[in-house]
Amino acid sequence: MSRRVRVNPITCEAHGMCAELLPERIKLDEWGYPIVDGAPLEGEQVDHAVRAARACPTFALLVNNERR
């Protein structure tokens, strides 16, 4: 089963940690909010994504198995 990242835009407060820890999939817009590539994560990106999700101060980054 493929895993993907997703952001809860309501809880996200633009701390930007996710873009630091998962730059392959997350860039920041001009206001600091994440622009997420929701394609399936590959190889060690899964570990990076899980680490980024744990580092998010508002738990707004989600790593899940569901289709978007």
Binding site: N8, P9, I10, T11, C12, E13, A14, D29, E30, W31, G32, Y33, I35, E66
Partner: protein
């Protein structure tokens, strides 16, 4: 008072026609003096059939058979998103726990009047649909959600429930709830959030409301017009329903016609009929048109030169980037400035953001500001590029579809009125810019709940 369209007969083999395909359907029996009472309603439409009478297992089969017929009818939701009604109903029926049905009469679209018209003239059709939906999904309660800015609607639906014995006397239980009047209050998750005792703000999905809605129960939210169609489909069946409309969008639709037309109001049309026939039904145009806004404030502008050939179905509107949405059809007169109107709507839509999601807050504010700059001739170089970039940074990045709709309206306006936008960018405001906007941007008290924290960080 709303008008109705002329009778339409379709050219079909006689043996297929059980009952004649005529209009009006929903608006049949509408009276200028007030709501149609229960006795007249039943005399007109006949008794309400049951779609679940048996015990547990037999009842489920009966309900399943009704949902199958609803699927064959092809009914699409009438709140704006146009989602297939049967798919939603089946998901609620299959979810774990005792379901609950919500009739959504919030109608936050300032240019739409069709829901309140239906509520205030034909409330029993909506209640019938709510009862059928509740039987189909196995719900024991129907909440009829009315907009608090329309006390007439609350009064009409409450009186209709009184005629049936009052709240608490009916099975399923029928209950009226008042909901705040801001634009996103009728958004499905915001409505469920409010009815469950929370703030009237959209929530993150999943969970979807069909799995976990009010008090964690599977919740079926249907627009009141959708419920009215369900009431008639339960009586006449899917084949009757499909005698009008197009194969992909069958039946009739309520539309709110406004702007440059002799008799603005609510009309019932055959879905897929021409815009010209709607304008004729509305007594004809009052003058030349610069364009039309179709769907709602989160809908699409279409330039005047294309209006002659437009038909009112999603299929026909797709090449113009539009959908029928919530049935709003506003004909922009040649007295109005399309640039000023688009900018005014953009500002209003930015103000109607629930201000929970960063890209919606910042994106819509920035887009609105950019449009104001173009309208006044004060835009910096490459303003068009900046607007395109802001649009892509704003759409599809919120918890709900509010930013998507606002961006669609803005971009379609810039495309439909390209010449006028270029003219304003170069020379600033035109003579018509100073007029009061033709499309209403209500300043009524919004009672929008305060978002948590995000505003303070701006």
């Amino acid at each position: 008072m709303p008008g109705t369209m002329n009778t339409v007969m379709l050219d079909r083999p006689a043996e297929e026609i059980q009952e004649p395909a005529t209009l009006p359907r929903l608006l049949q029996g509408i009276r200028p003096e007030g709501p149609l009472g229960l006795r007249s309603h039943l005399a007109l439409h006949g008794p309400l059939p049951r779609v679940r009478t048996g015990g547990r297992r037999r009842g489920r089969e009966q309900a399943g058979a009704f949902i199958e017929d609803l699927e064959r009818s092809g009914l699409l939701g009438r709140g704006g998103a146009g989602f297939p009604a049967a798919v939603k109903m089946r998901a609620v029926a299959a979810a774990k726990g005792r379901a609950i049905v919500v009739g959504n009469g919030c109608e936050g679209e300032p240019a739409s009047m069709k829901d309140r018209t239906l509520i205030q003239t034909l409330p029993h059709l909506i209640i019938d649909g709510g009862i059928i939906a509740a039987e189909a999904v196995g719900a024991d309660e129907v909440i009829l959600a009315m907009c608090e800015s329309s006390p007439e609607s609350t009064d009409a639906i409450t009186a209709a429930i009184e005629e049936r014995g009052g709240e608490g006397s009916h099975s399923p239980n029928l209950r009226v709830a008042e909901v705040p009047s801001h634009y996103s209050a009728g958004q499905e998750t915001a409505l469920v959030n409010h009815l469950g005792g929370g703030p009237s703000l959209p929530t993150f999905t999943p969970p979807r409301v069909f799995e976990k809605g009010i008090s964690g129960r599977p919740t079926l939210v249907n627009n009141v017009e959708t419920l009215a169609h369900i009431a008639l489909i339960s009586r006449h069946g899917s084949r009757w329903f499909r005698q009008l409309g197009t194969p992909s969008q069958p039946g009739s639709s309520l539309v709110t016609l406004s702007g440059a037309v002799a008799h603005p109001g609510v009309y019932e049309i055959e879905t897929g009929s021409s815009l010209s026939s709607l304008i004729n039904a509305g007594g004809g145009a009052t003058g030349p048109m610069r364009g039309a806004l179709i769907g709602g404030y989160g809908g699409s502008w279409i330039a005047g030169e294309y209006l002659r050939g437009i038909a009112l179905s999603n299929e026909h509107l797709a090449p113009h980037g539009a959908t029928l949405g919530a049935g709003v059809v506003h004909l922009l007169s040649d007295q109005a400035c399309p640039v000023a109107e688009t900018a005014s709507l953009a500002r209003w839509m930015a103000g109607q953001s629930a201000r929970q999601c960063g890209p919606c807050i910042h994106g819509l504010d920035a887009l609105s500001e950019a449009l104001d700059q173009v309208a006044s001739g004060a835009a910096p170089a490459r303003a068009g590029q900046r607007i395109s970039r802001l649009a892509s940074l704003t759409a599809r990045r919120g918890a709900c579809a509010h930013p998507d709709g606002a961006v669609r309206m803005i971009i379609s306006g810039i495309e439909a009125f390209e010449t006028e936008f270029a003219d304003h960018a170069r020379h600033g405001h035109c003579e018509q810019c100073s007029r009061e906007p033709e499309l209403p941007v209500p300043h009524r008290p919004l009672n929008m709940p305060a978002p948590r924290g995000k505003e303070a960080r701006r």
